[in-house]
Symmetry: D3
Subunit: 244 residues, 6 copies
Amino acid sequence: MHLARESWTDADAADTTLAVLPVGSTEQHGPHDPLGTDVLTAEAVAEAGADRYTDPVVVAPAIPVGIAEEHRRFSGTLWTSESTFRDYVRDVVGSLAAHGWDRVVVVNGHGGNIAALKEVTARIVRHDDAYAVPFTWFDEVGEHTSDMGHAGPLETSMLRNTDPETVHDDRLEAAAADGADGWGEWQGRVNLAVDSDEFTDNGVVGDPRESSADLGEELLDRSSEALCDLFDAVRDRDPTSRTD
Amino acid sequence: MHLARESWTDADAADTTLAVLPVGSTEQHGPHDPLGTDVLTAEAVAEAGADRYTDPVVVAPAIPVGIAEEHRRFSGTLWTSESTFRDYVRDVVGSLAAHGWDRVVVVNGHGGNIAALKEVTARIVRHDDAYAVPFTWFDEVGEHTSDMGHAGPLETSMLRNTDPETVHDDRLEAAAADGADGWGEWQGRVNLAVDSDEFTDNGVVGDPRESSADLGEELLDRSSEALCDLFDAVRDRDPTSRTD
Amino acid sequence: MHLARESWTDADAADTTLAVLPVGSTEQHGPHDPLGTDVLTAEAVAEAGADRYTDPVVVAPAIPVGIAEEHRRFSGTLWTSESTFRDYVRDVVGSLAAHGWDRVVVVNGHGGNIAALKEVTARIVRHDDAYAVPFTWFDEVGEHTSDMGHAGPLETSMLRNTDPETVHDDRLEAAAADGADGWGEWQGRVNLAVDSDEFTDNGVVGDPRESSADLGEELLDRSSEALCDLFDAVRDRDPTSRTD
Amino acid sequence: MHLARESWTDADAADTTLAVLPVGSTEQHGPHDPLGTDVLTAEAVAEAGADRYTDPVVVAPAIPVGIAEEHRRFSGTLWTSESTFRDYVRDVVGSLAAHGWDRVVVVNGHGGNIAALKEVTARIVRHDDAYAVPFTWFDEVGEHTSDMGHAGPLETSMLRNTDPETVHDDRLEAAAADGADGWGEWQGRVNLAVDSDEFTDNGVVGDPRESSADLGEELLDRSSEALCDLFDAVRDRDPTSRTD
Amino acid sequence: MHLARESWTDADAADTTLAVLPVGSTEQHGPHDPLGTDVLTAEAVAEAGADRYTDPVVVAPAIPVGIAEEHRRFSGTLWTSESTFRDYVRDVVGSLAAHGWDRVVVVNGHGGNIAALKEVTARIVRHDDAYAVPFTWFDEVGEHTSDMGHAGPLETSMLRNTDPETVHDDRLEAAAADGADGWGEWQGRVNLAVDSDEFTDNGVVGDPRESSADLGEELLDRSSEALCDLFDAVRDRDPTSRTD
Amino acid sequence: MHLARESWTDADAADTTLAVLPVGSTEQHGPHDPLGTDVLTAEAVAEAGADRYTDPVVVAPAIPVGIAEEHRRFSGTLWTSESTFRDYVRDVVGSLAAHGWDRVVVVNGHGGNIAALKEVTARIVRHDDAYAVPFTWFDEVGEHTSDMGHAGPLETSMLRNTDPETVHDDRLEAAAADGADGWGEWQGRVNLAVDSDEFTDNGVVGDPRESSADLGEELLDRSSEALCDLFDAVRDRDPTSRTD
């Protein structure tokens, strides 16, 4: 049930309370991965999860621009303020819920969105007429999660599996050479940097040479399976906490 | 230069000040056209215009949800508040401009967005560091414009040309039969209705049986040509009015 | 029932649900018409409509400053932001409705207010406890509407009928000579200008020499009659759409 | 220089930095005084002051609705939220200043506006490009100030001088009989009441029988003289505090 | 019941609807009094009132920064915007009320907060589920109130009684010598100054040499007694005005 | 340099650019720890760090109420909305910076504040005239960090060292018995709960019986040492990223 491609009458016939809202970012992903990486991967996971789930799940169109001001000095990065992003997500979830799809999983492909999604979904649960939770796919791939980086092995693998034409294989060496080993400039547990160009020259963190289409297939499989488990939980959740 | 599918380094190499931002809506389009009609058509026109233009034009990802509360009682319609939508567009245009693409045409596929886009682009021109104008494709197809309706001949034709699999040809008769002849419930020049279900049972205005793929091709051709003419004007515009 | 000139006890005795709220603008109207043109005309129409209507209609005081930033470079033009204007109108309508006058016609004399009034009245109908519609007088004068312009024959005629001392008859020649033929600088259907001084030197659009007090009387008659027809429709409207 | 009745060209020729912005309220003033009392009196004082001043003073149109929710249970009272009112005043003052009239006296006729005007004018002085101060006329009439009340001798006298047809002389006895002696319900220096109907049955505080047209003339004379003294001070003020 | 120092279980056992929220400011108080004067005194009065009251009263932690931009040019002065302050107070009162402590006295130690507290508490009473009133201690000390000034005899006395180590006795002479006699620069009843450094060199208004610990004890006694009288009134108040 | 207890003249003499702003929460901490735990510990760390640092550090008063709606069903928990909290912090940091103390460490004692502080300090660095970073003390105590919980061994130890009278030693057994082992109700990496009472009956997570005053002393020592290291880094940081 990919909402954007169905008529309203078919959408109306969907017998479900479950919806997924893919959320990404349009932002630099090194010289080798496309600016749309976080949208493409979020959409892929959302669709794979909805496809493999036993019951119907409404798939909303992906929100393409998120919280990415930290990459502002890399060309092509787009962003909104945090509050604009939260408002946009809240309004969209509210309109999904207005049609009875009031169990909403926000499938996220961008680390920079995580805190804002946690804030806005909690606000929705407490104060609106919906139950919503965020799901960030690269947190749900088991031991691979620790290899995330930025435009590193995980994201590059996902794209090589689903959108291989968007990856410049011939730039992986350069991407790795000029990238950073870790995210941020740290003093203890405090990151002194607010923008990514303070610690990475080409925007890369991690080694994308470790990517492969096979790994991408595995990542998609694991994350979409985890998403299905979450669908079960969300569908059955008694949101007794929703008391306002 | 489809931003979402390019790397930031390739985006950085684009020698242009021009960008297009497609803006649509996810909302009912009768029993025969998809909920994503306004996004699909806006994207098609934006891409066709950018492709045929002599100079490079940056194509931003489409904003999929707009101002559509008027269709709220038709399943699958998504919407944000007007102010959320304006904020989202303003932020995205601002980030485009931050990279030097500060001549932005917002290519719109939805009538409900027009007033908000006029307001926000004027605000951008007067108070931000960018020059932006809205362009609504179905206003730029000559004598056909008067046939617009909603999910009527123009939109259905566009889809039959670019995304034919999303149109239910077998529902055109029913679509026409239960649709309305005009938009709104009028007392003089005042529309007494605020929601579309007050005057159309299935969401249709106009007769989609008059659509064809050929007409769609013509509409795409004419609107993208008009868009190229606008690129010329926007590129050369001396925004002397930008004085704040 | 001119609210500002009645006591609350007399207002309380009014047996009606109908109210009109005149809304104008204080902005340049050429060298010949006063800056208050849009308020004076909106008030005149609102009062004439209320006077000729069979049932009592509460007339609220006119809101004198609206959305007129486009005229900012002409001395004396006053404006608020669009959101401030919408908030002000919404609050005033809300307080009218609190007294039982919850069928409100916003009588408008300024083109720049139209979109904002459409947005805010729809919001009121959908989310507040009132039914409100905008009514722009120069859209309700039949074939004359196409002669509107700015400080042109229609507005000048209205003033020559109701407030002749505010019109400088001896400047009509100069007003016409230095005015523009049309509103905006157009590329296709897109207006490239955001401020009126980009296309008119003295602020005039149209030929005010075609004005007359007789025409003004006719315009007032036609628009106030249309307003009365709207009162009927608004009074009897079943706002079933008001479901939030 | 009554802005609303002048052309922009004449306004442009005004050689001054001084402007007055009358601000009132539309709210209950007992059974005898009109709902528009606070606007009528503010306008009268602003105009009298501008007329008697040696140099030209731009008179802006009066803002008719202010902060009056405390009278919400008396029919005909209109109000906006405090923040809407502040925004409206700030925007209007900003547009006056844009034309070079950046010394603005906000002439106020309503006690409920005082705190909001102090806040917003200080914000304007500190953060915008203008110097603005509030002036509440009934605070500037010497020993009479202590007789203010609400719809009491001062306001009623002012109206009997400038707008006598709006006062119901035959209701003064009843107005006095059912009014309250003082404003509020006090515990120490704390007013326990938030709405005026908690302490006055007909909305009156003070004895309007003590009013007269002669007293009104004196009040207008004294307050407009005080306003002229303020014009001197505001014109000559070195706003060194304006450092942001 | 000092909330910050009690466990939630003990707070839960409190059998009361009454709470006090101390509100101060961190701002210059001359060379002799500490920047925290307004918080220290507000806390002292709140605690003394709660201690002497017959029934339990919940004491919330003090809000330390308020509306003090007027002192911005004196080092160490902290401030928030008026709207931020109001939002903060409203949210905190709302959370107190959520636990059943919905009769809230906001005990204030700073003149600059008074108008904002009046606005926000009225809003709470009218629109939220709580009854709240502001109480400014130096307005409740009888004939002493007229000696208030700024960092003058009253505040200095309070501190010499409760926090003597924060007062520099050896600077009282200098404080008095360089202070101002009154607050503001007046033209009639209008204060032309928006910042305190426009009329006082060291921030002092009034003569702190007239202070004493004995006077401080008396002030604390009188204000806390007045606060207890207010607790009675607030506890018993029938907030029939709360109708929204 | 505890700002609240110093005069403005002494604050003015401080030769430093460094300031700390303690930020806590007033919220349930089980039956044994006080509601003010997060403020008390944040203040203790901030003061200890400032005291041990070689150069002067301005200590601002602690912000006592933060983001704690998740504990709303436990009596005494106070909270503001996330946006109110961010606004409050931003305004206070802005006023610190106005005095030249534009290197600000926000010392935080509450997990629920972390995301909001990251957002607001990044906004300050990018758009305001200050450099600010958040520092959460329990993230800076080495291997102990993993024992954090809520009202568990770390917080209880801190209080037993600095404010032992606020800890109910006789309730530690009950606190541990009815507490939860972990925070949240998890499906994969998604927490299905938005409020803490969904997974803990008495508000406790972790075993406070493992606390001791000695451990508290060590925690204070380690965290204040880490804070001093951060002071060095913040003082010397070239905020080249601050380009807006």
